[in-house]
């Protein structure tokens, strides 16, 4: 097989990954559904039961999920409350809960395995694109998208290891799915060499950092959205529905901050500093207010505002998350919007 056909097959492989991600998402969502039913069953079974069980039922969903074992055994002792028909019914509901917990665990393991498989397949697809074109796989929007999706996917694997991160990963996978879907259709460009302006090792680090930061900001954005939903639910005192399965809003708040704090310096180095260095080499001026430059700066300013907002105590929680989401909006715009709407020096469009 020659190199170009390896790169061409990359699209197929990425397409396969796309469908596996769909499976991941379905598995995670159905796990969530089961956990919801489990939670409801546990809650009704333990109303008025021993105090530590109440804590399990009403606390963070993560706790409920992790300690479903305890909940099961505990409920077997204290579950008579909602059992008007006596001990047998109580036994039934304990069985049901045991079954639900088991099924949820199965779905979770399935989703997690699929996530690893999908990430591996995607990594192969990205690598094929790189090998086939004999360069780093971020030379145009198609390549940028699949690589950013890979970064986000890896981040979701890590984030998803904690119970708190699992809800994040479940919804985040959807974003990976959409990104890949766009990448293999609307954004697809056949493999080929780069225009001379892009043939530079600066592409490797400048755009490489952009992909990395973008992937991290993407994960952070998912966290920010969930944070806002969780905080709203907490304020209303709502524990039902899928928000009831989310980690507490303050946990999400912190997670979002850490992801943004990881992405921000990378964004500073890649798009801004190295972008300026490359521009000096390539165009003879390190800063020329090209639309792409302007939007990279805007993104940077908004994330700086987010970090400041959080550094001020009054701006924790959903207010800060909103600022971060605005930042993510500008990051998307620097990436998609500028290529589509403006004609600048960035030959990078490749649409």
């Amino acid at each position: 097989m020659d190199l170009i056909s390896i790169a061409e097959w990359s699209r197929f492989v990425v397409g396969c990954a796309l469908f596996i991600y769909l499976g991941v998402w379905l598995a995670f969502i159905s796990e969530m559904g089961l956990r919801l039913r489990l939670k409801r069953a546990t809650a009704s079974a333990t109303t008025g039961a021993t105090p530590d069980l109440v804590a399990v039922g009403t606390g963070a969903s993560a706790v409920a999920a992790e300690s479903s074992g305890d909940a099961r055994s505990g409920a077997a002792e204290g579950g008579e409350q909602d059992a008007p028909d006596g001990p047998e019914a109580a036994g039934d509901s304990a069985d049901l809960r045991g079954y639900l917990a088991e099924q949820a665990d199965v779905r979770y393991r399935m989703g997690r395995t699929l996530l690893l498989v999908a990430t591996a397949v995607l990594a192969v697809g990205v690598a094929m694109r790189g090998i086939g074109t004999e360069r780093v796989p971020w030379g145009n929007m198609h390549e940028f998208s699949i690589t950013a999706a890979l970064v986000a996917s890896v981040a979701f694997i890590f984030v998803g290891r904690t119970a708190a991160g699992r809800a994040v990963a479940s919804w985040g996978i959807l974003l990976v799915f959409v990104t890949l879907g766009l990448a293999v259709t609307y954004l697809y460009v056949p493999p080929g060499p780069l225009p001379p302006a892009l043939e530079s090792y600066w592409l490797v680090i400048h755009v490489g950092c952009a992909v990395l930061a973008f992937g991290l900001f993407t994960v952070a954005a998912v966290v920010n959205i969930l944070q806002i939903l969780a905080e709203r639910a907490e304020r209303r005192g709502a524990t039902g529905g899928f928000v009831g399965l989310l980690p507490t809003s303050s946990v999400l708040d912190r997670l979002g901050y850490r992801l943004a704090a990881a992405g921000f310096p990378i964004w500073t180095i890649g798009p801004l500093i190295l972008g300026a260095v490359w521009a000096e080499v390539s165009w003879g001026r390190f800063w020329g207010w090209d639309p792409k430059e302007v939007w990279a700066l805007i993104t940077w300013l908004v994330y700086a505002a987010y970090l400041h907002a959080r550094a001020t105590a009054g701006w924790k929680g959903s207010k800060a998350s909103t600022v971060a989401l605005i930042g993510y909006g500008t990051a998307i715009f620097s990436y998609f919007g500028v290529n589509i709407f403006f004609e600048g020096l960035h030959a990078y469009g490749g649409l």
Binding site: I4, A62, P193, P195, W202, I273, E280, V294, T312
Partner: protein, 575 residues
């Protein structure tokens, strides 16, 4: 301001913010992961008790001096920093939407022609020059001043805090967010010594053991230092860019293959410079483009896309010096002591010889045509002024096609490389208007004084020439020969002063940023007390003063370390 004040403040605030245990759950929020409150933000604190007055948001009815102090404090507050950051972000947007005269002057000209009314309004708000507009400058200068005003006092605070002793040990360590305790038989003094050694080993700043049996330590000052370095470096970057811009310059010049250029302002097609630039700053080099090669991808899906542009030049650093051969490629400019010579866009210059009816040469040589599409379909004109007593001026309007193909919509170029070069042209006679004193574009004919030649049918005269062909103008008015073509390249010559300083500042800023984001400020205490049975109770507790990390683990590790040291001491004694 003394260290005590600082410590008391933060102690007070921190203690008030320990999260309820239930909320901390298992989900990544370890017990040590308490919420923390940053220090030193005026708006973070409703009221401050220390001497410098605090951040009362009401303007007190006070004297002018006090009012100014109040206003200054507001201006340097975090809230204002936030507003200014957002404002700057928003202010940058219009410049990316509206064409900017220093980025794309042609687009601005087009825009003005299409929207004269709107352009007038745009001009009123400098919207064609957003990034040099006074209102834009006002925002970033305000941000800069606010930043300095915010950071300098903090530097001072930080400096004193670094020299102050770690704070007094809280009386109830068990209420700290991270806490361990264990009992040993060692006397309290020994525990203190072990704790001291352990904490020093972990690079904490440790105060001398105290009378209450405790040892207090603090770590992570690098965070604050990093934060200060970051912000101050931003100032350096901005100043370097601003001042550098005053001395810099940038110009472009179109040079056909085989032609030369010597570096003086009159030779440039376009030239712009900072206000402190002087013409004598231009390095006195000259160069000749010996060869300019363009290569294109000739197969596959990206057929026609440029693959390589490369100029070989004879470069003469100063008059009288020896020429040396240099190569310039895209992304590989020629660097002349910080002045960069870049290849910008290329094109073709078809060469013509124009003769009069007597076959005397009126003009000859390559004429740069401007590419109109990716396949270098290029348009241009040849202006041939003729002395008044010898006949009318001649003007030629042509299209150069590197690889000509006559399709349904007329002739077009189907590949950027010259595989079948042809010129399609028409010609005019009359007055070119070159003596009118009005500057003309060299790419367009001013047709006011011109008539188009007509062939014998009365149709406008047209001709298609391959290289080497000659066509006779109607009525024996002369001859046009298409001799061939050369390529041309637009060279950009530029110098950006201050870029090294800006880069150094930017890198320093990132280093500072990393420290300010990832270094954790924290305090640890170890105290030895006595329990009911007379054994020594060792308590270890920690308090976050910044986000992140895992304080609980660290406190656990310190507790273990102290324990290990104590048991080792005991073992040593026993043996």
């Amino acid at each position: 301001m003394s260290g005590d004040v600082t410590s008391e403040r933060s102690g007070r605030r921190s203690e008030g913010r320990v999260e309820p245990a239930a909320e901390r759950g298992r989900s990544g929020a370890r017990p040590g992961d308490m919420t923390w409150t940053p220090e030193g933000h005026v708006d973070a604190e409703p009221a401050r008790t220390d001497s410098d007055g605090g951040a009362d948001k009401r303007p007190p009815a006070l004297s002018l001096g006090e009012f100014l102090r109040w206003a200054w404090r507001q201006f340097t507050s975090m809230r204002v920093a936030l507003i200014l950051l957002f404002l700057l972000a928003v202010a940058a947007i219009p410049g990316s939407v509206i064409p900017q005269s220093d980025v794309d002057p042609l687009a601005v000209r087009d825009f003005r022609a299409r929207n004269p009314g709107l352009s007038e309004w745009y001009d009123r708000f400098s919207l064609f020059d957003v990034y040099s507009a006074p209102w834009f400058a006002a925002i970033y200068l305000a941000l800069l001043v606010s930043l300095v005003g915010c950071i300098l006092p903090r530097s001072w605070q930080h400096f004193t805090a670094m020299r102050a002793k770690p704070p007094r040990t809280p009386s109830r360590l068990s209420r700290m967010p991270a806490y361990r305790s264990f009992t040993v038989d060692a006397p309290s003094g020994e525990v203190q010594a072990a704790a001291y050694a352990e904490l020093r080993g972990r690079r904490f700043r440790v105060a001398d053991p105290r009378d209450d049996g405790s040892v207090a330590a603090e770590a992570g000052f690098l965070r604050e230092t990093g934060n200060l370095v970051f912000h101050l470096s931003l100032v350096v970057v901005l100043l370097a860019v601003a001042l550098g811009g005053l001395f810099g310059y940038r110009g472009t010049v179109l040079v056909p293959e085989g032609s030369g250029f010597s570096n003086s302002i009159v030779q440039y097609d376009n030239f712009s410079s900072g206000s402190l630039f002087e013409a004598t700053d231009l390095p006195p080099f000259s160069l000749q483009v010996d060869r300019f090669v363009m290569e294109f991808i000739d197969a596959g899906s990206q057929i026609g896309q440029a693959d390589n542009y490369e100029a070989t030049v004879s470069f003469v650093p100063e008059p009288g010096a020896e020429a040396r051969t240099e190569t310039i490629r895209v992304n590989e400019p020629l660097n002349v002591d910080g002045t960069l010579i870049h290849i910008l866009n290329p094109g073709y210059a078809p060469a013509f010889t124009i003769r009069n009816a007597d076959r005397e040469i009126l003009a000859e040589g390559p004429v740069p045509f401007l590419p109109q599409d990716d396949n270098f379909t290029s348009t241009g004109v040849v202006k041939v002024p003729v002395a008044d007593d010898e006949g009318p001026d001649l003007g030629i309007e042509g299209v150069f096609l590197p690889t000509a193909d006559v399709g349904q919509n007329g002739p077009v170029s189907i590949f950027p490389e010259p595989r079948n070069p042809q010129v399609f042209l028409t010609a005019f006679y009359g007055d070119l208007g070159l003596n009118s004193g009005v500057a003309q574009s060299i790419y367009r004919l001013d047709k006011d004084g011109l008539e188009q030649f007509e062939d014998s049918d009365g149709e406008p005269f047209r001709a298609a020439l391959a290289a080497g062909d000659t066509v006779e103008l109607p009525d024996g008015s002369g001859f046009i020969t298409f001799d061939g073509y050369v390529s041309w390249v637009n060279l950009q010559i530029s110098r950006n002063s201050g870029k090294e300083i800006a880069l150094a500042g930017a890198l320093l800023a990132v280093a500072g940023l990393a420290a300010s984001l990832y270094v954790r400020r924290r305090r640890l205490w170890v105290r030895a007390g006595t329990d009911d049975e007379g054994r020594t109770v060792v308590e270890v507790a920690g308090l976050h003063r910044s986000e992140g990390g895992n304080l609980d683990d660290e406190v656990g590790a310190v507790a273990e370390g102290v324990h290990r040291r104590l048991s080792k001491d005991q073992l040593d004694e026993e043996t």
